[in-house]
């Protein structure tokens, strides 16, 4: 799917970030090795909660999107954002260490949510 921008859930708000200059966006360039895991976790949890809201409430996804004041492409945009953040974790922590961290986070989220 061709997307012009992605959504990153950060600092309690949904940030629409253009893919063309993604890494130069001030929100993204401020992510450091220390904070990248938090950014990934926040995005993952947010995406998980949106999805489970849709499933549990049996609501029309568009209705949820309207509530969140985001467009119909919000889910793919959030998912793409998560994929990019995952890549950033691997880039910043190295492939082996990064995979291990991501796997731990994903296990925790599964257990907690």
């Amino acid at each position: 799917m061709k997307l012009e921008d992605v959504i990153i859930f950060m600092d309690g708000e949904l940030n629409h970030i253009k893919l063309g200059y993604f890494f130069q966006d001030p929100k993204i360039s401020s992510i450091t090795k220390k904070t990248v895991l938090d950014a990934y976790t926040n995005q993952k949890v947010f995406l998980y909660s949106v999805k489970s809201n849709i499933q549990n409430n049996q609501k029309d996804p568009q209705e949820i999107m309207n509530l969140l004041k985001v467009d119909r492409l919000a889910l793919p945009k959030l998912e793409r954002g998560l994929t990019i953040l995952k890549g950033m974790v691997m880039d910043m922590h190295g492939d082996r260490e990064g995979s291990k961290m991501l796997s731990e986070i994903n296990t925790i989220i599964k257990e907690e949510c």
Binding site: V6, L19, Y21, F23, S29, T32
Partner: protein, 237 residues
């Protein structure tokens, strides 16, 4: 802003016609490169060499010469091309920018000052200078600076004026043997590239461009060899 050396001028001439790629061209090349097409991989790198120069110029004045920043930035560009995932939809130039800067920051952090300060502090201080804030002790220290106005001795005289005994301790035979032993395990070509780049048994290290000319291979090939050999040696040490 800086003194262009002859090799830097030659380098600028050699990349003069390599213009940035359009989004679609970039995506196509990245996909082909990911699939293992070496020519596309090289093209992706070559057409982004100018970005490295731009970023190097922006980071001039942090204690490292521009040509060294470019050299280091090119390594970052190479790493970015290796790791780039075209499926994400992010522009390669945007992704490469972070790697180029990361590699340059690493060099600045390790060589830009006599007393090392952490990378994050270094960046914060640089950002502060760009904003025009006053930052203490920001001027880079040059080893040829005089210790004081009424003293002819330069800092390099002090740093390098170690006694022969101390020098012997620093560069022990053991270290030399280890390095030589490791280099001897390499293929002839790889060993030569490493020796020339790091100046082993030479008066000083050579630039990747000069090594490429000397060996009759491309500059990108030089970076590929350096990267592969460094990883290989690191795994063995």
């Amino acid at each position: 802003m800086y003194n262009k050396s002859e090799s830097l001028e030659r380098y600028f001439k050699s990349i003069k016609d390599l213009n940035p790629l359009e989004k679609n061209q970039e995506l196509e090349l990245a996909k082909e490169a990911k699939a293992g097409n070496a020519r596309s991989f090289n093209k992706l790198i070559e057409h982004n060499l100018k970005i490295v120069v731009t970023i190097a110029n922006k980071n001039a004045g942090r204690g490292i010469q521009v040509d060294d920043l470019i050299q280091q930035g090119n390594l970052g560009l190479y790493e970015a091309a290796k790791r780039f995932n075209p499926e994400n939809g992010v522009r390669f130039t945007s992704y490469a920018g972070t790697w180029i800067l990361k590699y340059m920051n690493k060099l600045i952090d390790s060589c830009g000052r006599i007393v090392r300060i952490p990378v994050n502090q270094e960046i914060e201080r640089f950002e502060a200078i760009k904003r025009g804030d006053e930052v203490a002790n920001m001027r880079p220290v040059f080893i040829d600076d005089q210790v004081s106005e009424d003293n002819d001795t330069s800092k390099s005289d002090i740093i390098f004026s170690v006694s022969p005994e101390v020098e012997e301790n620093i560069q022990t035979d053991h270290n030399k043997k280890t390095v030589t032993g490791l280099l001897n395990t390499l293929k002839n070509r790889d060993r030569r590239v490493m020796e020339m780049f790091y100046g082993v048994n030479l008066a000083g290290g050579m630039k990747a461009k000069d090594i490429a000319d000397e060996m009759g291979i491309t500059q990108i090939r030089v970076y590929q060899i350096l990267n592969t050999v460094k990883k290989d040696l690191k795994a063995r040490v």
